[in-house]
Structures are given as C-alpha cells and as structure tokens.
C-alpha cells in the first residue's frame, strides 16, 4: 500500500496548484469574470469615497462640536448675587462642563475678532454696545447642547440663550443622511458584487463538474476541491480593489494639494495622507477579499455539494 494518510495541512506544491487552478478558473468565463471584477471595482470605489468623506466629516464634526458654546445672556437688571446664583445653577446642570463669565465688552471684541474683515463695521458700536454680559457654557457632550440651552432658558435672570444651533443640527443631519445614503448604496452594491461573483463561480463549477465528480470519486478532500474556487473569488476581489485604491490614493493626494495651494485660507483640516489613505487601501483589499470569499462560499454551498 502507498501512504494513505489524508493530509489536511497544505503543502507548498498543493498551494501552487490551487493558485494555478484559481487563475485558470478566471479565464474560463472571461466576460463574467470581467463583470464581477467591475462590480467589485464600483463597489469598492464607492466604499472608498464614502469612507474617506465620512471619516473626514466625522473628524471635522468633532472639531466643530468642541467649539460649540452656549451663550447665556444675563438680564441687565440682575444684581451681582443674582448673577452668582445663576452661575451656580447652570453649573449644577449635570451635562454642563464649564461656565465662564464674559463681559459685554469682551463679547464684542470676540465677535469682531471672529468676523475678521467684516468685523470692522462693528467697531463703531463700541460706544453703544448692544450685547449683554453673558455666561459661556460648555457641555460635556456636544450632542446635549440643545437640551442644555433649553434648560438654561428657563432659569431666572436669563435674558436670552444663543448657540450655533443651526450649524450643529445641520451638520448632524448632513452626516446622518450621507451615512445612510452611503450605507444603502454600499450594501446594495455589495450584494450585487457578491451575486455576480457567485454566479461566475457557479459557471466555473458547472464547467468543471465532470472533473469534480472524479476528484470526489478518487478521494480528494473537500477542501482540496474547494480551494481553486475560493482562490477564484479571492482573485476577483483583489483585482477589483486595484482601481479603487489607485483612484483613492491619487485623488486624496490631489485634494490635499488643491486645498493647500489653491484655498489655503479654507478652514478645512483633512486627515493627513499617511497613514489614512494607506489604512483605507488596506481596508479596501480586505473588503474585496471578503466579498470574493463570500461569493465563492455562496456558490459552493449551492452547487459544489461537498
């Protein structure tokens, strides 16, 4: 008898064979393979762009959020002890992080400074300052800004409450919509890509059914039979990630360059190229491989019957 042990580990020679067979499978249904790779390409391109956008928006949002302050203007009639009481009441709100006093003169200076050139108009107002003294309130979590502002408004001796309500809310809305639309598109595309891959591999399985039958008959292990199809899926995934990664790297460099050179005053801090783009590229390859493996497993489960 020859050695009859069924080897479950993979020898280098076997690995080579699976790789070769996987490549051969790709060529077997050229057009379907092309369609599958294209689907993965489109999917990953969208995933890449969405992720780059979302991650940047998130970072930008965090930055904005940390700047969000509530200005609680104090009634002109409030006496010092009433002001002190108001301050301690605000401090007692559990979501509040800090409370600082700002006189109306400081308030106007800040406003003029923030507005830059446009602020000059307000210089003339210095004599008849329309602002009131105020408490500047920071919340622990930017999400609580609206609720805290509401609460402060109810307190005595508060003339008015202001905060960048619209900016904050709009940003959250945009982020949420972008996230949902992106997610829906990505999920739809993921399924399309997976479906195409599993159909491509189904065709390969059908084309090789005769061979598979003999392999089973003479005692090839199930994994020995499965591997070439798994390799086929993985290759489709990897090939599908090449173009998106290229576009992403080139595009991101270009964008950063554009902002730095053309719009240096634009107050947008993109995430730095390294390691961001490279992490994202790695993620795209991994995603491509996952889609490929998923497609081939789906196909094998239905059609390989091993």
């Amino acid at each position: 008898m020859m050695k009859q042990e069924v080897n479950t580990g993979m020898k280098i020679k076997t690995f080579g064979r699976h790789g070769k067979e996987g490549f051969k499978n790709l060529g077997r249904n050229g057009w379907m393979t092309f369609a599958s790779i294209s689907a993965v390409t489109v999917t990953l391109l969208l995933v890449g762009v969405c992720l780059a956008l979302l991650l940047n928006l998130n970072a930008f949002g965090d930055q904005l959020e940390s700047d969000v302050e509530i200005s609680a203007f104090i009634d002109l009639t409030a006496k010092q002890d009433q002001q002190d009481e108001l301050k301690s009441r605000i401090e007692n709100i559990s979501e509040v992080e800090s409370v600082t006093y700002q006189s109306k003169e400081e308030g106007l200076d800040n406003l003029i400074e923030n507005l830059g050139d446009d602020g000059e108009v307000f210089e003339s107002l210095k004599d008849e300052n329309p602002l009131s003294d105020a408490f500047l309130v920071k919340t622990k979590d930017p999400q609580d800004v609206t609720a805290v502002a509401e609460e402060i408004k109810q307190l005595e001796n508060v003339q008015d409450v202001e905060f960048a309500e619209d900016t904050v809310n709009r940003l959250f809305k945009v982020l949420e919509i972008a996230r949902n639309v992106g997610l829906a598109l990505v999920v739809g595309l993921l399924f399309t890509a997976m479906f195409l891959i599993s159909n491509t591999i189904k065709l390969t399985i059908v084309a090789r059914s005769h061979e598979i039958e003999i392999m089973k008959l003479v005692g090839a292990t199930n994994w020995f039979i499965r591997w070439p199809f798994l390799v086929e899926g993985i290759l489709i995934g990897i090939f599908g990630s090449i173009i998106p990664i290229g576009i992403l790297i080139y595009g991101y460099y270009y964008l950063i360059d554009l902002i730095a050179n053309r719009f240096p005053t634009l107050f947008i801090d993109l995430l730095p190229v390294t390691p961001f783009v490279y992490q994202l590229s790695g993620l795209l390859i991994v995603l491509g491989v996952i889609i490929g493996v998923w497609g081939s497993l789906t196909s094998m489960r239905k059609f390989l019957k091993v």
């Binding site: 009859q4 069924v6 039958e213 008959l217 003479v218 005692g219 090839a220 292990t221 199930n222 039979i225």
Partner: protein, 228 residues
C-alpha cells in the same frame, strides 16, 4: 472485508431500492452482482463507497462502519476503493497519462511517486504506448482500460465495477475480463455488476443475484440465471 447487515435503502423520492440485504465478501474475492434492470445493483455498489447512505442497517468496509463515518473521512474511504463505470468518465482534455495521474495528484501524491505508479499501471493495462493519446483517439475497450488504470493506480483494496463491459463488443469485453482477473489475482477484491450472461457463465466466479432490492441467490461458482 465487506459486510452488510440488514441494509435498507429508500431514496428521497420514496423508491425502495434495497430491502434488507445481508452479505459478506472476503478479501480477494471476485464477485458478480447480477439481476434485472432496476434490481438495485448500482445502489448496492454506490452504498459501498458512500455515494449513497443506507437508510438503515450496517455496512462495514475494511473495519469502517460507513453509517458512523464522518463526511470528512469519506475521502479516506474512497482512497481504498476504486470505481469503474460503464461510461468510463474520462476527462476529455487530458491525455491517457494525465487522466490516470489525476487520481494521484488530487490526493497530493508526490510527483516522483505519481510518475512511477502511473507508468506501472499503464503497463499493467497495456497502454504504455498510448500514454500521450487523448481519450477521443482510443477505442472503447482502451478507454475502459484507462478508467480501470485510474481506479487502481492508488492500489485500492477493493475495485467496484458497474457494468464495465456494458458499452463494449464481446471481443473487447473479454479483454477487460482478463484485466480484471489479473487485478484480482494480485489480491484486490473485485465486485462487478453485470448484465453479461456469457461472461458470467464462462468466467465462473461467485454470483450474487439481486432482485427487487433483495439477495435472491448467492452461489460460490454460480451462473447468470436470467434470460437477459
């Protein structure tokens, strides 16, 4: 050794193909399985290499109880059993050599060993000089000999042949019988399901007759016993 104890097989469509078979086949035997079409001969063979699972009863092959065999251990069982069909099942794009080597490659045999075994086996089936031919370029008898070579290249204990001469003319069929006899003489158990009355009656061996999924006759040097 092959043993079946009270084996039943009902297909998922409700057809009762095997209805309580008890049988023992010793190592090195040559056995014909005869019976009319639809008697259950092929089902009987397929259960031995676990292509089909028995619905109830016990099948033991070389000490392995097939009912308890895990799926992942089926390949190991198949390496101990060679199977040959009426329609050869050769891969049309591979040469004779490649078709036989295929059986060893897919069980990860080393290249050197593969080459040695394939050449030995091709010379046993007398096809060494046609190693580079494609199946299309061979006669039916030659194709069947390639398929037998593929089945025995791994030196299995058991060779199952399901109507191996069914597609061949009588002359060629005798050649195949000589080959099977030679393989049997080297110690391999050979089981052959057949319709060929002349062969069974001339080339006398143990005959197990199956009808309606039951063993109706089991004779040490039996005859075909049916009028085709």
């Amino acid at each position: 050794m092959i043993e079946m104890k009270d084996v039943w097989k009902t297909y998922s469509n409700g057809i009762k193909a095997i209805n309580g078979i008890d049988i023992k086949i010793n190592k090195g035997e040559f056995v014909y399985i005869v019976g009319p079409s639809g008697a259950g001969k092929s089902t009987f063979m397929r259960m031995m290499y676990r292509e089909e699972k028995a619905t109830s009863g016990t099948i033991i092959i070389n000490g392995k109880e097939l009912g308890k065999l895990k799926n992942k251990h089926v390949p190991k069982l198949r390496r101990e059993i060679g199977v040959v069909f009426q329609d050869f099942k050769l891969l049309p794009r591979l040469t004779v050599y490649e078709n036989v080597a295929f059986a060893l490659e897919v069980i990860e045999e080393s290249k050197a060993n593969t080459r040695k075994r394939v050449m030995e086996t091709l010379s046993l089936v007398n096809l060494k000089n046609k190693a580079r031919f494609l199946p299309d370029e061979l006669s039916g008898g030659e194709q069947q000999r390639v398929s037998i070579a593929r089945a025995i290249v791994n030196n299995p204990h058991i060779l199952l042949t399901d109507e191996p001469t069914g597609n061949l003319d009588p002359e060629t069929a005798w050649g195949i019988m000589d080959l099977l006899d030679q393989i049997n003489n080297r110690g391999t158990t050979v089981i052959m399901a057949t319709h060929n009355k002349d062969i069974v009656n001339t080339f006398r061996k143990r005959v197990i007759a199956i009808d309606g999924g039951l063993v109706t006759r089991d004779e040490a040097r039996g005859e075909y016993g049916y009028e085709n």
